[in-house]
């Protein structure tokens, strides 16, 4: 029996106006992602991979087409609905970490917890637990300016997990990290997928990273150009770039 996809894009287009030029970032994209999958989206610059992630993450809306998440079409959501969607269903990890610089690592996670407004939770304790999950419990009181790039990205992952989202989206999570730091971050994401069953959608221009995903979706000119299934995804320690 075929299970319903957790994320489904059907004939999605996205067009931007850049000055006097129209940019067609997505041209009728069709893509399905199952619950618990680890999908890597790769492609050259301008292929539409970040746009795809932004649409799934509710940071942007399609120009046309259907975008179903857990069976609900979010393409027609208004701003309030998108805000709630981002708050409750998505964990976003950015290339530039995007930690709030005036908050400590722990407070960055607490911020996301307060937004999610979990009842009966000790926000401080849960933040600590999440940081521990990514191996940074002892750095909870440090500000981003006192953390390395890799540490900042792991704090960002902990923050993304604060809302216990079913879907984690990562946009070039290792783009600003050296190899060793990048490995650490990917390891955390793999663990979240394998141990907690979270759906992970990772966008990268680095095709090597695709080898740790269960499926690698190649985008070109705003459409899926190829899909490869990795029958035996590699461990993070087995890849080098």
């Amino acid at each position: 029996m075929a299970t319903e996809a957790q994320v489904q894009l059907q004939n999605v287009t996205k067009t931007y106006q850049m000055g006097e030029v129209q940019v067609h970032a997505l041209n009728g994209l069709d893509l399905s992602i199952q619950e618990g999958e680890f999908v890597v989206i790769v492609g050259p610059s301008g292929s539409g991979k970040t746009t795809t992630l932004n649409l799934i993450g509710g940071l942007d809306t399609p120009t046309s087409g259907e975008l179903l998440v857990a069976g609900t079409d979010i393409a027609g959501y208004d701003e309030d609905a998108l805000t709630a969607y981002r708050r409750d269903r998505i964990g976003f990890i950015f290339q530039f970490f995007n930690l709030l610089p005036t908050l400590t690592a722990g407070e960055n996670v607490e911020f996301a917890l307060e937004l999610a407004d979990r009842e009966g939770q000790d926000v401080h304790q849960r933040a600590h637990a999440l940081l521990d999950r990514v191996g940074l419990a002892e750095r909870a009181d440090h500000f981003p300016s006192q953390l390395s790039g890799g540490e900042q990205q792991r704090v960002a992952i902990a923050r993304a997990l604060a809302k216990d989202p079913p879907i984690l989206l990562a946009d070039e999570p290792t783009g600003n990290l050296d190899f060793r730091m990048g490995q650490k971050v990917l390891r955390v994401m793999r663990d979240l997928n394998q141990q907690e069953g979270r759906t992970v959608i990772l966008v990268t221009h680095n095709t090597v990273i695709g080898r740790i995903g269960e499926r690698v979706v190649h985008l070109r000119d705003g459409q899926v150009s190829d899909v490869k299934v990795n029958a035996h995804p590699l461990e993070v320690g087995q890849i080098e770039w």
């Binding site: 970040t50 746009t51 932004n54 993450g57 940071l59 942007d60 701003e79 309030d80 805000t83 709630a84 981002r86 708050r87 409750d88 976003f92 950015f94 290339q95 530039f96 970490f97 995007n98 930690l99 709030l100 610089p101 005036t102 908050l103 400590t104 407070e107 607490e110 911020f111 996301a112 307060e114 937004l115 999610a116 500000f143 981003p144 300016s145 006192q146 790039g149 900042q152 923050r159 809302k163 600003n176």
Partner: protein, 794 residues
């Protein structure tokens, strides 16, 4: 166009609203410095010119009784006397209508030509001429009020009978630029007081004083203070046995002194404004340029890598700040003349100055422009220098993933954290205050400035309202005040007491005196009354009763008299009166607010100066208010009645005078709100621009727009709260200082008073403006492209 200049132009276009906001701040600063100060100078110059053209007196000698015109020759022969005019001047009532009478001063003038001192500027109609009978050139104030003109017949009441006097001309007189009857009551009352300049012979005939005068107007060659005093002394000697009631110098002319008080207050008010504008402008420019430099670091790196010199890079940012200053200054400078001129014209018209001097204050304007340019360039210099010093590689290595902001927990958060559990949203707002201290300081200064100006302006309303209440509710408890031109027996008072509508009548003796203390002497009005008067409320401290301080040989002064004359409670002074000198002991604790008199015991004064006779020359009356106008009419019909004033008309006159102040205060209020709005707008916009990525991230995490707006609002209002105490404290000090200016005259004592509600109004107005000013920044937050903004470099 060189490409770097093209970049400059495009950067300005991109930040047009911030650029404009700063141009506005500069414009207002230069305008206020050049235009407003220039306006005050112009009004003063217009006043001087008017007084000169119309041959205004240097002093006036009022005689106790009349004297023959021949005394003029004796005075004309005194050294330093350029010219002297002798006149018969009498105050009477004027019938306006059945229930409206005014006070009219009949002044005898030469019929053939204008007098050599105190000439008239005829606005409409003509001056007097040979053959004129009962005609008059009338002071323009009352005529304009009631719409009179040449041909209108007025009805002054002389010896109880109304006369027909035709107006042949309307004029401005240098003695009555404001319609003030006497120093006793310095309220301009255009509806209740006028001057009829009539042929001298007619006036003399009306009062049976043919060939007699009771006033000499003297104009000197040399006006230096020492020479004026010497001339007065010699004129008094030349008059020999003629009894002198008073000698009043030019500066003490009631109309002139009121005008000068008005101008001084305006100058004081305007003095503090430009300085604050410039400080705020400087800090705002610094914030803007600094932010630009931070945002454009990679571009700076590229420029330097391409071969642009340090100076070329600096020049770019200096040009930016210089352009703000130049455009704002040119506009402000350009506007300063027409705006200053318009205000000067309006001001001069309000006071009826016929000769208006409106000059282009090049020096003041250039000074303002020069100061502004220096300040703006200095403000832009430091961030520009920082930009030029950055090595190209370092600048281009700018990595948005590296957190540039050093986080820390400020003391304020630690203190609050001891009491409250703070949510992260609150922590963000608190920490953002200390994140860029100079920027926060700029916003703080904007708030402080607004608090100071608004509180000062509003407090002036309070002070003046309080002054009115003290004067007209607590001090003057009468409804009518009547002054006779000659002493009257008590039988007249008894007659009046029997009139329908008259409830209480109290006699007073009221005449000008000179207080001599050591080598100093000061002119004042003595008011002798019963210590237990029901119709006058002394403003004494609780520990003193009127009976204690108004015994025989005692006089009561006000604190403003004490400050101005240098006399203290317990001092012995000489009271020089037309009927002889009295030695008295003063008490200076009577805190009356407007035109306080020198109070003395009526019985004692009658005993000392009138041989114990029950005589009075003034009455205070409490009446049935429905009948007060009837009573006034009947009073004016009494022989020898010089003036009858209704308290409600005096109070209304003050209110209308305050109208002018309110307009000026309103203007300053607006200035303050515009400046604070511009500063807050600028800072908020910079804050949002700089934190676009953070804000977008918060929204990406699921923070609602309203939640973000609340966070930004809290941050904004926190700065306002920090500014509250210093702003209000400085505002109170500034208000006190302004009150002191208005209390510098012996005639006014403006009690320092700020209504509690005023603080609330000021705070609400400023915070309301702050909330409105952040609307553009909020719109930016709401319309943010999250996908782009989460990647943007700060």
């Amino acid at each position: 166009m060189k490409k770097i200049n093209l970049k400059l132009w495009r950067d300005i276009r991109q930040q047009k609203w911030q650029f404009t906001a700063l141009v506005v701040v500069i414009l207002v600063g230069v305008l206020s410095y050049g235009g407003m100060m220039g306006m005050i100078d112009d009004v003063e110059a217009s006043l001087d010119r008017t007084l000169d053209e119309l041959r205004f007196q240097d002093f006036v000698v009022t005689l106790q009784d009349t004297a023959p015109e021949s005394v003029l020759q004796d005075v004309a022969g005194v050294d330093n006397v350029q010219a002297v005019t002798g006149r018969l001047v009498m105050d009477v009532g004027l019938d306006i209508s059945e229930d409206n009478q005014a006070r009219a001063r009949l002044v005898g003038m030469p019929a053939t030509a204008q007098p050599p001192v105190n000439q008239l500027y005829v606005q409409e109609g003509r001056y007097l001429q040979e053959g004129d009978g009962l005609v008059a050139v009338v002071d323009h104030h009352l005529a304009e009020y009631y719409g009179y003109g040449p041909g209108t017949v007025l009805h002054p009441i002389v010896n109880g009978e109304p006369l027909d006097v035709e107006i042949v001309g309307l004029a401005v007189s240098p003695e009555y630029l404001m319609a003030v009857a006497s120093a006793e009551n310095v309220l301009p009352l255009p509806s209740g007081f006028t001057v009829l300049f009539m042929p001298q012979a007619e006036v003399q005939g009306l009062f049976g004083a043919e060939g007699a005068i009771n006033e000499l107007n003297v104009r000197l060659v040399n006006r230096s203070p020492g020479e004026v005093e010497r001339a007065i002394s010699q004129v008094e000697k030349a008059l020999g046995g003629v009894q002198i009631r008073s000698v009043v110098e030019r500066a003490d002319n009631p109309s002139y002194s009121l005008l000068m008080l008005d101008l001084e207050g305006g100058r004081e008010m305007m003095g503090m404004v430009p300085t604050m504008f410039l400080i705020i402008a400087a800090m705002s420019i610094y914030v803007l340029i600094n932010r630009m430099v931070q945002a454009q670091r990679p571009q700076i790196g590229v420029l330097k890598a391409l071969g642009y010199s340090r100076w070329a890079v600096m020049r770019y940012y200096l040009l930016y700040s210089g352009l703000i200053a130049v455009i704002g200054s040119i506009l402000g400078f350009g506007l300063s003349y027409p705006v200053g001129q318009a205000f000067a014209q309006a001001y001069a018209a309000e006071f009826g100055l016929p000769f208006v001097t409106a000059t282009f204050h090049l020096a003041a304007g250039l000074e303002a422009v020069g100061i502004t340019l220096v300040v703006a360039l200095l403000a832009g210099f430091f961030p520009a220098w920082s930009s030029a010093r950055t090595a190209p590689a370092e600048a281009m290595r700018f990595d948005p993933s590296v957190a540039l902001v050093k986080g820390s927990v400020p003391w304020l958060e630690r203190a609050l954290g001891l009491v409250f559990r703070l949510r992260t949203g609150t922590k963000i707002a608190l920490r953002n205050l200390f994140r860029n201290r100079r920027r926060t300081l700029t916003t703080l200064l904007g708030f402080v400035f607004a608090f100071v100006v608004l509180l000062t302006c509003w407090a002036m309303f309070d002070g003046m309202s309080y002054m009115m209440e003290v004067q007209f509710e607590q001090t003057d408890r009468w409804d009518l005040q009547a002054i006779f031109s000659q002493p009257q027996p008590y039988t007249v008072m008894e007659q009046i007491r029997g009139w329908t509508g008259v409830e209480t009548v109290e006699p007073v003796v009221d005449f000008p005196v000179t207080i001599k203390s050591g080598s100093e002497s000061h002119d004042a009005f003595l008011v002798a009354l019963a210590p237990d008067s029901e119709l006058h409320g002394f403003q004494l401290p609780r520990s003193k009763k009127p009976a204690q301080v108004l015994g025989p040989g005692q006089v009561l002064l006000s604190p403003s008299m004490s400050d101005n004359w240098g006399v203290e409670t317990g001092d012995q002074v000489t009271l020089q009166t037309p009927l002889g000198d009295l030695q008295v002991v003063v008490d200076t604790s009577n805190a009356e607010v407007m035109s306080p008199g020198v109070y003395a015991n009526l019985d004692w004064v009658q005993a000392e100066l009138a041989g114990g006779q029950d005589l009075f020359n003034g009455l205070w009356l409490q009446v049935d208010l429905a009948r007060q106008k009837d009573v006034r009419r009947m009073l004016y019909q009494l022989p020898g009645m010089a003036s009858v004033d209704l308290k409600e008309e005096i109070a209304a006159g003050w209110q209308s005078l305050m109208g002018l102040y309110y307009v000026m205060m309103g203007m300053f209020l607006l200035f303050a709100l515009v400046i604070s709005a511009a500063v807050i707008f600028n800072t908020m916009t910079v804050n949002v621009l700089e934190r676009e990525r953070e804000i977008a991230t918060m929204r990406a995490l699921g923070q609602s727009r309203s939640g973000l707006q609340a966070m930004i609002t809290v941050e904004n209002l926190l700065v306002g709260l920090l500014a509250l105490v210093p702003g209000l404290a400085i505002g109170v000090a500034s208000t006190y200082s302004l009150f002191q200016v208005f209390s510098a005259s012996a005639d006014f004592y403006l009690p320092f008073y700020i209504a509690p509600l005023t603080y609330g109004i000021v705070v609400l107005l400023i915070f309301g403006t702050a909330l409105l000013s952040q609307v553009p920044a909020m719109r930016r937050v709401n319309r943010m492209d999250l996908a782009e903004a989460t990647k943007v470099m700060a």
